[in-house]
């Protein structure tokens, strides 16, 4: 199993196959991957692309062959065959198992492995940058924990809405809970997406490998201006990031959002949830 996964992991190999297959079909490419683990998702998709193409190709070729060979014409008779002999049924069952083993088991193995090794293996330590995100109709609010390293204190830093900055090559852990309705935090260039559901704090991590300015989209319908609920993610060097952070406003837990309920566990500027 691990060997198969390892073989599939050869990302250059798959990039080559894909390039040869689709060269010229420019639009099949997703946005440039600038994250540490995005290639894992691309690999699963590429493997699935490959087997799906093979299976669908077989079906289409078989159909074409049957259409030509077995078309109704004078002198041609259908064979009275119910396909219910043991031989036929075992071939049918074999087909089911073949699909299961060649597609399901492999992509499930890859997916579980990626979840264990990357997406659900949250980074720990001092180097991790923690960010709290509160989407609202129709903007993104970000909160950094300031000098004391704790949220829900008076030195929390709140940059301008819709502008998120992160340092490159540093693990970023986000916790997200919306103010009003369900939103979804989606950065196409990082292949990551997490819903923001009212009353729940969701968490996710990612790491940038390149600097640049990327778009954040809201992927869950949140009202009439859903389509322009756009944010910007600026990935910069650690030095630039620290300079930027120092210029941001200090602000404590917010109470002018109309959220009077101090017991609300997802009130903007919640205390960081250590174990989710």
């Amino acid at each position: 199993m691990n060997k198969i996964i390892h073989w599939i992991r050869l990302r250059n190999f798959f990039d080559k196959i894909k390039h040869n297959l689709w060269s010229g079909i420019w639009f099949l490419d997703p946005p440039k991957d600038v994250s540490l683990d995005g290639y894992r998702i691309d690999n699963v998709i590429q493997y699935t692309d490959m087997v799906v193409t093979i299976y669908f190709g077989i079906v289409v070729l078989a159909m074409l062959y049957f259409i030509i060979k077995y078309r109704s014409r004078p002198g041609h008779k259908a064979v009275y065959d119910k396909g219910d002999t043991k031989k036929h049924m075992s071939i049918t069952i074999m087909m089911g198992l073949l699909v299961f083993l060649s597609i399901d088991v492999v992509i499930e193995g890859m997916s579980f492995n990626d979840l264990k090794e990357a997406f659900w293996k949250f980074p720990k330590g001092d180097k991790v940058v923690k960010i709290e995100i509160m989407p609202q109709q129709f903007a993104w609010n970000f909160r950094y924990n300031g000098t004391d390293g704790k949220f829900a204190t008076d030195d929390d830093l709140i940059p301008a809405q819709n502008h998120m900055h992160i340092p490159v090559n540093t693990p970023i852990v986000i916790q997200i809970a919306p103010y009003d309705v369900i939103h979804s935090f989606f950065i196409p260039n990082f292949r990551v997406k997490i819903d923001a559901t009212p009353g729940m704090i969701n968490t996710m991590w990612f790491q940038a490998t390149e600097t640049g300015k990327f778009e954040i989209a809201c992927a869950e319908l949140c009202g009439n201006s859903h389509y322009r609920m756009k944010g910007y993610l600026t990935v910069e060097s650690e030095e630039e990031f620290n300079n930027w952070l120092q210029k941001q406003d200090e602000e404590g837990p917010e109470d002018d959002w109309g959220d009077e309920d101090e017991d609300n566990p997802t009130r903007w500027g919640w205390a960081w949830k250590e174990s989710i």
Binding site: L28, F66, A78, G83, I107, S111, V192, P198, F214, L221
Partner: protein
Amino acid sequence: MNNHHNQSFWTKYIFSTDHKVIGKQFLWLGIFFLLFGGFQAMLIRWSLSNNLEALPWWLFGDILYQDSPMGPGIIGPDAYNQLFTMHGTIMIFWAITPILIGAFGNFCIPLQIGAPDMVFPKLNMISFWTMILSSVVLLASYLLPNGTAGAGWTSYPPLSTPVGGIPGLGQTFWTLAITLMGTASLMGAINYITTIVRLRAPGMNYFKLPLTIWGLFLTSILNALFIPIIAAGLIILLLDQVAGTQFLIAGGKATIPGGDPLLYQHVFWIFGHPEVYILILPAWGIVSDLLSVFSRKPAFGYKVTAICMCTITALSGLVWGHHMYTTGMSPLLGKSFMFLTLLISIPSAMFFFNWLGTLWRGALKFETPMLFAMSVMWVFGLGGLTGLYNATITSDIYLHDTYFVVGHFHYTMAASVLFGGFAAIYFWFPKMFGRRMNKLMGKLHFWLSFIPLNLVFFNMMVMGYAGHHRRIFDPSEYEFLKSVLELNDIITTSAFILGVAQILFIINFIYSLIKGKISERNPWKASTLEWTVDTPIPHGNFSSTPIVYNGPHEYSNPRIKDRDWIAQSDSL
């Protein structure tokens, strides 16, 4: 048999208890909403390609959206949200459901199992008129000052509750209409199940049922099991909308603690995933039968196909969590749902293989219903295989809520079910209305639907792969979507061709209804029981209860010399 009493116009055509008339009523209702929902799709495409431009005259730009805040005839973001919400709602619940389940369920079940009518004819009538009531409520929401519902066909709270910021009563009307429609479906489902269990003709055991009946039977079981669940969810939602409760509201807008928006998503998808199979199972059954009829050979591995359909039915109730991988659901649950979802590919692959087996060594006749049935193999093949991406947690993280999902479910639900429905209409039209449909127009309709449909939905998947997220009023808002804007126009053009092609179908339908060639009793030389009765079918169907000797697909049996088929009720 019985029921040969005199009928007035009202009891014969309007408040009829005859399953054939009710079937036709559902068919008219379904076709009306199919055109209505389809027209909305055209408006959606216009808006996506020609953002903030006034509608042209051929999309009724002089009549529609005259009081739009953006200017006369212009679709704004609010109107756009309402369009795709109602397009999804109408297509699923008011177009596909009445055509496949309402029309062909009613028409085929008693005729194919050899029964005089449904077991509860009055319930059948009430079911149709509840459906009409739900349609009235749905259409009434277009008259509301703030327009219809706009929170998507899933209507996730809190967006669909008053705190979500969608003005007016549209969401409330939506909830009421779906609840009424569910009630109608539930009445139909009870009727179908009881009829199939109790009214089968002598000799018609379960493994002699046509696969169409298998599909409708399993669909009805799913309906009976899962509609009560969505009803519970909708009633909670309705209370939040009108009674000030906050079962489904949390976060900064909640004034009462303890609400949970995720509860609705679970309840919705416990119903919502089986709903996909509710829609597609009848289409699978119909396609399996039609492939056999037009290959002039028995359905390959009939029993295996039936058992696979049962297995999928059972699994469909256990996989709803794959719609919710990104909601922050427990990782353990996510893994279980992924495993169960992927299991569905085994029975699906098996019956798909059986479809190919049916064609193998047949004598294929490419009549219009056969073309549509074979195209279902194509579109369902693509739709089913692309489900793998969405079933896998990691690839779904990226593809969830993108056009990839839109393309995928249009292939499975829209294309497969629509083409299955067209196959059924072309196939049973001679028995329903006693006339043949025009062959040339039928084939033209097929090619003008099949090619543009693929251009539309395949390109949608490509766009989703490029990261294009769903329900976006103006895709040019995003820099990373610039590369697919060109594709957007290709889709729009194809969608318009697809839309215009359906006019051909309507012309063919109405022309054949009035002027079509009078059909013989069994034009397709099919062996199921509905072809043994007279056309037009008398009230009470069979002159004497048929006795069933053969399986549903007795074609090219070497023991019969003079013809290549034998009816189920003919003894060898």
